[in-house]
């Protein structure tokens, strides 16, 4: 199942020879986990669908493990997007057919049941696992999600398991949407092996088989609202990698428009569309992340950490306490910047890379909040994020748990990468990490799971969309990306986004009939 871009119903930048105008039953904006699922389901249910994506399609040969080139080509703002607060929080969003599913580590895990109870409490909408289980199962079956194969684990992942086992902490191979993983550890720069079942090679081709038309390199910019109905979308063709604006695009919807451009882009489209934001004032508010911190362990033997599934093992032991622990790999150049020292000292640290492995923790951060605002005419938003002191403590706890797993698996030292701490600590110096007065701006805290900016809820004064993803004040404008998630799913959000989108597709279909 791979996307054939030579098909007449898939347009790329080079195919546009003038202004584009088209009409369909449904216009779906965004081809990531939220949009691709909806496009496939609705076209399968017999609707005429147009899927619009701002990014270009990538084939396995287009990917490169080179960090700089990947950041410039695959990520918005060349991978330098950050939310501002007490610290700068890097947050990476993809710009590609397939959206975030192209560059994530393919973890597809269900949240525990209590997450849905919290969602129901927060949103006032009954969202329990017994009702959603069917949607999760459909996505899992379609993508062939299974736990990471033993052959793909290798030493870095196995050390994590070994440490958890020694401490009596539960752990498991990560469930992933991957087939025949080559264990190259290159998920974040795109899968050169073509193993990752990102939506560009799974859901989008399925939508095309059912007649959907896919317009890549098209940015949806404005939704036209008339008499409570979303009638059409205005936008432009955008040149890949340069962002140069080209021909005008006008797409009319006979039945509905579904925004799934991601929780950073969808609010911007709403804010720029007259009458689309609604009276709640919550569009772009309630921005939430899973802030994450990592430590680099050093073992006496060679690990060759670049080999093995990017994130092949994780522990859900501490979800209720607010954090999840994982194995990590990323382009080495990004991981080593936290190494201490200069010159020959820095180079000597690099020579030990083959003995190292990073583990990370992501925090639910339910008490922290952010917001998204427009930045003039730019489509790069102004992001603010304030990390709550209790959530900051959870990051510290996660780092301590990671260190304990590292020691239990035989690490001889750890590079904490935290300002104010020694550059390297041994097990005997663990108290230094435990007693450290941890502040968030002492280390690099990434925020790569973003959600909540168009949250779902029953109360139209406190939320943007209803249980089906429909904007409260409009009859046929829907949102199905991570923006609708009412609060943290506690785990990596991709599968939850897809299950909610699957659910929304059928609710949209029912409402149309």
């Amino acid at each position: 199942m791979s996307l054939s871009v030579s098909q007449p119903n898939v347009l790329e930048f080079k195919d546009y020879q003038g202004e584009l105008s088209d009409t369909a039953d449904m216009i779906v904006v965004g081809s990531g986990p939220g949009g691709a699922v909806v496009a496939k389901e609705l076209s399968e249910l017999g609707h005429d669908v147009i899927l619009v994506e701002e990014g270009p399609p990538f084939r396995p040969n287009d990917f490169t493990p080179d960090a700089g080139a990947s950041m410039c080509r695959l990520y918005r703002e060349a991978g330098m997007r950050a939310a501002r607060g007490k610290s700068m929080f890097p947050t990476m969003q993809a710009i590609a057919l397939g959206g975030g599913s192209v560059v994530n580590s393919a973890i597809a895990v269900r949240p525990p049941d209590w997450v849905f109870e919290k969602w129901s409490e927060t949103s006032g909408i009954s969202l329990d696992m017994t009702k959603l289980s069917r949607n999760f199962q459909r996505v899992e079956d379609f993508l062939g999600i299974e736990k990471t194969n033993n052959d793909a684990l290798h030493e870095r992942n196995l050390l994590f398991k070994q440490g958890c086992d020694a401490l009596g902490i539960s752990s498991e191979p990560c469930p992933r949407n991957v087939k025949k993983c080559k264990a190259s550890g290159e998920c974040f720069s795109g899968c050169r092996a073509g193993a990752k079942q990102s939506t560009d090679v799974s859901y989008v081709p399925a939508a095309i088989r059912h007649g959907a038309r896919v317009y890549t390199s098209v940015r949806a910019e404005e939704v036209v609202i008339k008499n409570r109905r979303a009638t059409e979308i205005f936008g432009h063709v955008v040149e890949p990698f340069t962002g140069k604006v080209g021909y005008a695009v006008r797409l009319k919807a006979r039945k509905a428009i579904i925004l799934a451009a991601g929780c950073m882009a969808t609010p911007q489209i709403l804010m720029r569309s007259k009458g689309a934001s609604g009276p709640s004032g919550h569009v772009g508010q309630n921005l939430q992340f899973h802030p994450g911190g990592a430590l680099m362990g050093i073992w006496p033997h060679e690990i060759n950490p670049w080999v093995g599934a990017t994130q092949g093992y994780h522990s859900l032991e501490y979800l209720k306490q607010g954090y999840k622990l994982e194995v990590l790999w990323a382009p080495a150049s990004l991981l080593v910047t936290r190494f201490p020292g200069f010159g020959h000292q820095y180079k000597k640290q690099l020579e030990r890379l083959k003995h190292m492995a990073p583990f990370d923790g992501i925090v639910a951060a339910t008490r922290s909040k952010g917001s998204l605002r427009l930045r003039g005419k730019s489509w790069d938003p102004d992001l603010r994020y304030e990390l709550h002191p209790e959530d900051q403590k959870d990051i510290h706890k996660a780092l301590i748990s990671i260190a304990e797993i590292m020691w239990a698996s035989g690490a001889e030292s750890i590079i904490p990468g935290i300002h104010g701490m020694p550059p390297e600590i041994t097990k005997d110096e663990m108290h230094v990490l435990v007693n450290h007065k941890f502040e968030i701006n002492q280390t690099t805290t990434t925020c790569n799971h973003a959600f909540g900016t168009t949250r779902m809820g029953n109360d139209s004064t406190k939320s943007v969309v209803d249980h089906s993803g429909r904007c409260h004040h409009l009859d046929n404008l829907y949102i199905t990306d991570s923006g609708v998630i009412p609060m943290s799913p506690a785990v990596n959000p991709m599968l939850s986004i897809m299950a909610l989108a699957d659910r929304a597709s059928h609710l949209i279909h029912e409402s149309m009939n």
Partner: protein, 155 residues
């Protein structure tokens, strides 16, 4: 007298901010000579000659970042240019040295960078980390570095 002071000040500004940079490297198309020089000197501080790993110059850090620069969005280009300016003229702002970074001796430059890395001011640490990230991305792009560090890497 005021005209004389103004002229001296103007000459000092020229000396500090504009003059004295070596000519541009011919293979660079995007970074101006001044930026190349700042980058080369910074990269040299992180990855000097000697040892089993290549130096920044051998790894082609400046050439790589020049090429990467062409792919950056406008906003990021501006931010990186500001970063270069800040790093270069940081000694004038933060002291105690009163020469631009590229005029410092190698040892003084290391001390200067260390003061950024260990600064109690978050903004300075962030600027330092940004510079080091850029240089390290360029360094790791070199095939010789990857071969030396990650000999087992295969797909």
């Amino acid at each position: 007298m005021w005209i004389g002071i103004a002229i001296i000040f103007f000459v000092w500004l020229l000396w500090q901010f504009v003059l004295g940079y070596p000519e541009a490297r011919v293979e660079c198309k995007n970074l101006v000579a001044r930026e190349q020089h700042i980058l080369a000197k910074s990269a040299e501080a992180f990855f000097p000659e000697g040892g089993s790993l290549p130096s920044a110059a051998e790894a082609g850090v400046v050439q790589y970042l020049d090429q990467m620069f062409s792919q950056l969005p406008k906003q990021q280009k501006i931010l990186i240019r500001l970063l270069f300016f800040l790093i270069e003229h940081g000694p004038l702002i933060f002291g105690p040295l009163k020469a631009r970074t590229t005029r410092l001796s190698h040892e003084a430059r290391i001390r200067y960078f260390r003061s950024w890395e260990e600064s109690s001011i978050y903004f300075r640490r962030l600027a330092f980390l940004s510079l080091r990230s850029l240089v390290t991305i360029g360094y790791f792009s070199s095939q010789s570095v990857e071969t030396a560090l990650m000999s087992e890497k295969k797909l």
